[in-house]
Point group: C2
Chain length 285, copies 2
């Protein structure tokens, strides 16, 4: 298994996702290192033996130079600058991937500035938790999760294969391929719109006294309302047009349902419920 043990994978940005990658890859035998501006995150990961080496500044250069592959778990707004400033340290042939929740505004920029002898292949594991920070990391989040590879014309067949193999090693289930544009439209609907709905359910009225009465429906619909406000507002702004489009589609539909109720159109409501039931059945694992 030398081909695994000799491979050094550097995690850049050691939060919930970075820590979860580190746990999964370390378990498989890879040599995992990490850099993060926060010394406490590195200290925690070293103590927990999630990573072999880590740095919050001084040792960054060494770890970048040694890496065979990099997983960027940086916020999308700082990711391109990080590449600009550090890519002179990359090994020739370096493979880099990421976990960023929006792609169009990141992938093309990174690929346009990246050295010719390195490859960036974007990926999005559809996994996460309602907490942030390496101390909440957990590699079980990948189990059977959907994993999306988001290549462009600049990517090689080898890069795409490498990225898919990484998703498989993490434990993901379905591994699929989408273009950056397809990815961003999809993510606006299944992830960003749902987060906006969950947040709005919590903020639309003071409902905290309802905790003694509620059932699972409300809990399920608001689980993701515990949200990292910095990260998600950044993701929303970077995907503004698709998200606005999906919000408008949903708002129109809910208003239509509301008007049916207002008019007493029971048959109309029932038809929508039957369609909903039929479609949702496909999503049950």
């Amino acid at each position: 298994m030398e081909w695994i043990e000799n491979r050094k994978i550097l995690i850049v940005g050691l939060g919930l996702m970075g820590g979860s990658y580190a746990r999964a890859l370390k378990r498989l035998g890879f040599t995992v290192t990490a850099i993060d501006r926060n010394p406490e995150a590195i200290e925690y990961a070293l103590k927990e033996r999630i990573i072999k080496e880590g740095s919050s500044g001084d040792g960054d250069e060494k770890l970048i130079r040694e890496a065979d592959a990099i997983v960027s778990c940086l916020y999308p707004a700082v990711f391109p600058d990080w590449v600009r400033e550090h890519q002179h340290l990359f090994k020739p042939g370096l493979m880099m991937t990421d976990v960023t929740g929006v792609k169009g505004c990141v992938v093309y920029e990174i690929q346009s500035i990246l050295r010719e002898d390195a490859e960036f292949i974007a990926a999005h594991p559809m996994a996460g938790r309602e907490r942030s920070g390496v101390e909440f990391s957990d590699d079980r989040i990948f189990r059977d999760a959907n994993y999306i590879i988001v290549p462009t014309e600049k990517n090689t067949a080898e890069g795409i294969r490498w990225c898919g193999r990484l998703g498989q090693l993490l434990g993901c289930g379905r591994i699929t391929v989408l273009s950056p544009e397809e990815h961003d439209e999809m993510i606006a609907f299944v992830s960003q719109l749902t987060h906006c709905i969950a947040v709005s359910l919590m903020t639309c009225s003071d409902n905290t006294h309802l905790v003694d009465y509620t059932g699972d429906s409300f809990r399920d619909l608001t689980r993701i309302a515990r949200i990292n406000d910095r990260m998600w507002s950044e993701l929303f702004m970077m995907n503004r047009e698709p998200l606005l489009r999906q919000m408008d589609v949903f708002l129109k539909e809910l208003e239509e349902f509301r008007d049916m109720l207002d008019k007493g159109d029971t048959e109309g409501m029932r038809a929508k419920m039957r369609l909903s039931t039929e479609r949702r059945a496909l999503f049950d694992k």
Copy 2:
């Protein structure tokens, strides 16, 4: 334990909820009987030994006469008529409760027609599943669930105590008391609005091809989109005013969030997310 074994509890309407009550009560040693218009439901419950006796017509009278308590799991639209037609068979001192998801339009009517020597005390266990029918019944749905007693001025202290004790025996966690009006406004928000949102998420666009890409967020927000269209449309219509009110509050909030995104008001969105995070933390068990 004679005080349990000698007690005969009749379930009227043996679907998912009725079957789950029967399983829980039978496990504790009560003598559980059931009537349902559908002979297959009764046959199933007898075969599975969930009930001791059952009837779909001919034997109804005997089972009603013998019952010490009745749990009505009928649809709200037919419940009052059932009481009108059968209450001459009730034992003096009979206790009756229900599981109906709306209260205002049911409780007062039942109590106004009910014989003086019987008591109806409304209850709402906040539990269920996305399937209907006795074959999906499961008494684990009550475990730690919220259970709401919904008394009126007509109820006695003994009736309220009996009803709460029943919730406790089912395995429910928090047992609380609300007036019919408080219950219906609360349920419009935590249950009915969330079902409308889940249905609208499934019907607003053809999204079935997204099954290969989605994460847990979308699954969680649409779990309840598999819905019994007859029952829920009836519940919505019976609680139309509170539900319209709650839908309007939610629609206004989501539109406000949409407009913040449109205008690039990142700080506004972050403030909402922080409020949402703070409130939602209280709901984690």
